[in-house]
């Protein structure tokens, strides 16, 4: 029974990983159709680290301000302190399983962090960086 449960767990998490990979590929394809690509994880990482002056807060912020320096660990919201679960799909298979959610958060977070929308190229680079974590 124990072995059976283990097999089911492994199978389910493998399926989740496949699901998020398919969703990410679908998004990348959409960005390509908007004229972006090829995508580069190193550029994505550079974007991830890039600091920007957040005027309302009066300090420099980047993605790690809320998601934390280590993507495999939970971060915490810069203002409310609310725990934000790990973003790395290798430790959190629930990430990137929903295209609408990905776009919603790019919309909110690019605007908050850099004061503008991200381009299709930037989103593709960042997703390529994140999916390998």
């Amino acid at each position: 029974m124990k072995r059976y449960m283990l097999a089911v767990t492994v199978l389910l998490s493998a399926q989740a990983a496949v699901a998020s990979e398919a969703v990410i590929q679908g998004q990348l394809e959409q960005y390509r159709s908007q004229g972006a690509g090829p995508f580069n994880a190193a550029n994505g990482e550079a974007m991830w680290q890039k600091q920007h002056m957040q005027e309302k807060l009066g300090k420099e912020v980047n993605c790690a301000s809320c998601h934390g320096a280590n993507l495999k660990e939970a971060g915490s919201h810069i203002k409310t302190g609310k725990r934000i679960e790990a973003l790395a799909p290798s430790v959190n298979p629930e990430r990137f399983g929903d295209a609408e959610k990905i776009e919603k958060w790019f919309g909110r977070n690019c605007t908050w962090t850099w004061g503008r929308e991200c381009t299709a190229q930037e989103k593709g680079d960042i997703l390529t960086f994140l999916k390998a974590q």
């Binding site: 915490s76 919201h77 203002k79 409310t80 302190g81 609310k82 909110r108 908050w112």
Partner: protein, 195 residues
Amino acid sequence: MNRKKFMGVMLLAGCVTVAMATLGWSGEDERWEHERGERGEHGVLPVTSGVEPVMNKTYKAECSACHFAYPAGLLPERSWVKIMNNLDDHFGDNASLNKETRETIENYLRGHAADHIPNRFSRSILRSVDENQTPMRITETGYFVHKHREIPARMVADNPQVKSFSNCLACHSSATHGSFDEHGVRIPGFGRWED
């Protein structure tokens, strides 16, 4: 009941009596007099009732990514209306939602707001808010301020594991279930809190 357990219960009952007596002496507690009265009605230990926990999935999904999904019963209806109609500047962040989602959440919050939920916390909060005012934060209400008046900044704002009074769940570990009972408080890095 074994002897040890019995002694424990007696000790607890003793502490509660002393705590209630202290409350009775303190003039500044008068505004929350009814709360003590309600405890008295039950005749025993204070009831660990909380507020109604959040039940709406859309509210949880959309709002609790950035902050604790605050129970609707912790603010009056007029506050939720104001908050939900200013989502493009939500405490400095843009938290806009599409029309349908926004309406779903607003309806939930209005229907379960403090003015519509007959429980102790909600009534205490309502009574602590001036009728002509529309608080935008639970932390602004007189009741909240009173209940947290003894917590020093080093335990919250200056505590990297807490950061803000907005982060209910950091210390009130059962907050998700609507329980904000003082006896359940554990402040990260400091431990239990009881005054």
